[in-house]
Symmetry: C2
Subunit: 681 residues, 2 copies
Amino acid sequence: MDIETLKAQNPDHWNKAAAIRALTLDAVAAANSGHSGMPIGMADVATVLYEKHLKFDAARPDWHDRDRFILSAGHGSMLLYSLLYLVGDAEITLDQVKNFRQWGAKTAGHPENFLAQAIETTTGPLGQGLANSVGFAMAEEALRARFGKKLVDHHTYVIAGDGCLMEGISHEAIGIAGRQELSRLIVFWDNNNITIDGTVDLSDRTDQVARFTAAGWHVQDIDGHNPAEIDASITAAKADKRPSMIACKTHIALGHAAQDTSKGHGALTNADQNAEAKAVWGWTTGPFEVPAEIKSAWEEIGRRGAAARADWEARLAEMSASRQAEFARTMAGEAPKNLSSTIKALKKQISESAPSVATRKSSEMVLEVVNPILPETIGGSADLTGSNNTKTGDLGVFDVDNRKGRYVYWGIREHGMASAMNGMALHGGIRPYGGTFMCFTDYARPAMRLSALMQVPTVYVMTHDSIGLGEDGPTHQPIEHLAISRATPNTLVFRPADTVETAEAWEIALTQTKTPSVLSLTRQNLRTVRTEHKTKNLTAQGAYVLADAEGKRQAILMATGSEVEIAMAARDMLHAEGIGTRVVSMPCWELFEEQDEAYRKRVLPGGPVRVAVEAGIRFGWDRWLFGERGKREKSGFIGMHGFGASAPAETLYEKFGITAESVAQKVRDLVEGRWQADPRT
Amino acid sequence: MDIETLKAQNPDHWNKAAAIRALTLDAVAAANSGHSGMPIGMADVATVLYEKHLKFDAARPDWHDRDRFILSAGHGSMLLYSLLYLVGDAEITLDQVKNFRQWGAKTAGHPENFLAQAIETTTGPLGQGLANSVGFAMAEEALRARFGKKLVDHHTYVIAGDGCLMEGISHEAIGIAGRQELSRLIVFWDNNNITIDGTVDLSDRTDQVARFTAAGWHVQDIDGHNPAEIDASITAAKADKRPSMIACKTHIALGHAAQDTSKGHGALTNADQNAEAKAVWGWTTGPFEVPAEIKSAWEEIGRRGAAARADWEARLAEMSASRQAEFARTMAGEAPKNLSSTIKALKKQISESAPSVATRKSSEMVLEVVNPILPETIGGSADLTGSNNTKTGDLGVFDVDNRKGRYVYWGIREHGMASAMNGMALHGGIRPYGGTFMCFTDYARPAMRLSALMQVPTVYVMTHDSIGLGEDGPTHQPIEHLAISRATPNTLVFRPADTVETAEAWEIALTQTKTPSVLSLTRQNLRTVRTEHKTKNLTAQGAYVLADAEGKRQAILMATGSEVEIAMAARDMLHAEGIGTRVVSMPCWELFEEQDEAYRKRVLPGGPVRVAVEAGIRFGWDRWLFGERGKREKSGFIGMHGFGASAPAETLYEKFGITAESVAQKVRDLVEGRWQADPRT
């Protein structure tokens, strides 16, 4: 269909969609940067979705039972901002649209969930929105099973582009969705045949329809500019029991000189061409001006869900007070009141019994007491359930016929798991945790960064966190992964030394509302070092004195996780020689940095030599080795200087020199003034 | 077919395959760790492949025209070690097999390419081998086009498991292979329906046959224990013009009590069950004993390709001396002799003309002079060609009908690109480089780690390397990615300050044989700071004095990349105030660490205050801020302390305080004794 026919057939629809197109053109031109083509191409789909299907109330973007709309092709952010301005969102005003991509504006280059309530998720890194959406849809299923259809009954809609579908994460996401038969998940593929480098054919010839079908999806192929087809396809998608993919044949930058070209993907800033495009669309008002009747029609769309929202609130109000309170607590992400006492009781029991267990097992022990009192947790593993110790007795398995199940078999999909966990957390009402080997933070990395950027409290249970993994060898032995995790802003990285610290770390992780956590846990058994029960959460201080020097304090050993017991053994050796040695356990650098200077200096006073012990690289440790005014010749590091190797764990620790004797020798050398200029040690 | 029937139908085949099964069982039992089930399940496929199809000469694993065999399901490493021992590989001896997974053995838990010549690639992180294989097959196509079928004419065979096919990277890999019609690539899928957590159905119901078909592959579905079917399927796969996937229905741990269970995936160490399995297989010799006639039959297989290899050598010898020399140079990965003079000439020209260009453009300028003299380069980008500046005029596009083309449109597949580049480098004869945004090192990260571990000189061209990217915002602005790259062992991370340093960095990267390089390049223009031509490659020292203090040296500014010109401007300000200030450019930390202590101290002498400037996080900088014996109160950092934001680049630098004035003020504060205890600054 040509544009004139489209206009003539349904002028009301056309004008609404044209408002999106015109606002996009104006905002991108004003910013002199951005992506014009996608919003112009997908305006018809978005208009029909908002007008006829999306359940929302523009006045209340915080309504828990709204449908979620996720713009996975995040570069087309002006599509979302146009829609929000048009329906009357309180935050995305015309001023915001005019300030597209400028400092301080809520209309960032890519949608950022933390800038406005109505922005469901942060997208831009391609494929992430699609994979988030799987988590959104799973959260809806889980909460519907828990709280009933009266409170939870909505859909998740996604717009994905060719980039989203080429990225590997899309494979993981659609595999999970197909397996889980997420019937409330509906994905529009903006099938415009254009990428930045040219036509899709330059790099890909995948039959997407066949591909989604192979993954168990309901698939339709439509004209993405025909409102009747769009409407019918959404109706059919909602009726099907499978997740739905609607392949929308569209023209990128429809009606613009750059239509159907890769130039049309980017910023269309040529004033003459833009004026021509507006003429083609029949758009006659000035920049950023939407004719009153069109704006008013859009605002009516924005109010379309108000009654449904009011009904929902009435239903909620009819429920028992305790039910309402529990729903409110759950959706707010607040930990239950008895979490703290439960953790304390476990700590006490552990300090008394002092078991030798791997911290991955410690983590399971914590989850065994925590999961029963936090019904909002959903756990899982990327096919390493027995190794990550993430499944506890009471969880049940989340599955098509058991949406109350709280354990997800994610399959060998670290990236998809992490991104779906983000989606669950963003949806609200779910506190997701998931496990894999620490080394495979690499696979999950793009989603882990987004947890931090999006400010969601996703918990990553990363086991087998050093050469202590043993025989699997260097491909599976994390060396630089603690540094990578610590380098990521807004991320709490915990490396607990025993079960007590593991319990403390979990308590902190489970009470976060804006910060993800990484738990770095061992494969190998560790002895309990916290044998004296303290109700206070010492891990919350980030670092603390685990055992002080006897006699004159000549050395401070800093260690994390499995190396704390090595430091303790070295301390014994040094004390036997009369070298007073303090051991500082540092389970969480980020929290230690947040302490005041006085506390930091109390834990790490100047004067004694300092040796850090960690079965990873030194990178980052200098900050603590030098402290406030340390000196290189008074400090040393015992750890890894390159990749690991395949052998039993004990052999590896010995061969790589991460032993109590090495630590003690380093201290002796430093105390006695023998220091080598090797920058690594 | 049951085992008795299989044995009876083809006892010769059965016994050869049983040797793999028995060796696997014995080695895993001896190590008390490893994965028994997969080698046992895939022994028939491997036996037929080696006996009837694989072109190789066990005596010469370095033969350039051998077929490549890649065990993507790397946990089944005993399959490969058994095969290599059986065919008479000189390195993987019986002793090595007996020392499976022990310190110093070549038989590591997962195959490690650097431990034995016959191990083509390092696998274990799932999906990597499959994606490597795409690069192997592309390398073969490119070299065949360049050197002719007489020298280059081989296949790439892969064994992939369910894990490989669930990982997202598999989607990227099969998409590239399908698009490129890599007809010499043949993948066996070990369709055993078992993962670690249970049956595949727990997490996945993808129709793999339909999925590969949708990606343009030739697909067959066979009984993976039937030698005739296996043989016929390989023949058919070789005849087809598309890449081939052969779905091999197998039984994991065939004939063992753990057959068809997830227990069978891991280490089978129960002595009684193992004895029973051997009885079922008709295997009667003791541990690690292969009956002489079976070993001898395998060794005959090992010699099968000797004549072809000799013929090939004769064909090579018939070629002109210059052709032979060029082939030898190319396969050895040696840079051509005129690389150095070409780089010097460019440096001279740049120092004289002193252009203001983005270093991504500088990189293109280098490639424009380098690509013509290095016919072994293959460049590409993950759909950001115009942004990464990776395509030069003479390359041509690698495509089905133009295998001489040297530019690859990888599509939106950073991970697949990186892993395929590793495959090209491992194949030999290709020096691959590829581009994306620096922030998307996240997506490529698992393959980038493997470049380092595998010791291959892949070059990553990472542009838009800071908030200088501007309006695209925090999802696209790398903050921690320099730290992540620097934290990775055996990786050279270059952040050049101008075109001269970019040329020097490329020279170093292109002459590496065992180390990958990351080039961190700007979007924004930078002025030329190296205006005085020096033939010496200063970047090779990692850091050097770019401009020394005038008068008494009171401060040292350390900077990289785009912040070097900020440091230079701060130096001008400080000199105007009489504060003598040295500027040290640090384009490559790793190379600076390799310098001797005397040089390091010459560049960074103790005494003056030190301020580092980099538009990334501080993480890692303390090593240089403190130097050999620095003090915290005499050092400071100007950079990022969290995620970026969406706005024009100049605004962001101003708002985040990465300016010459901020640097100068920090120096003034330190020189005058004003220091704050904020651990971040």
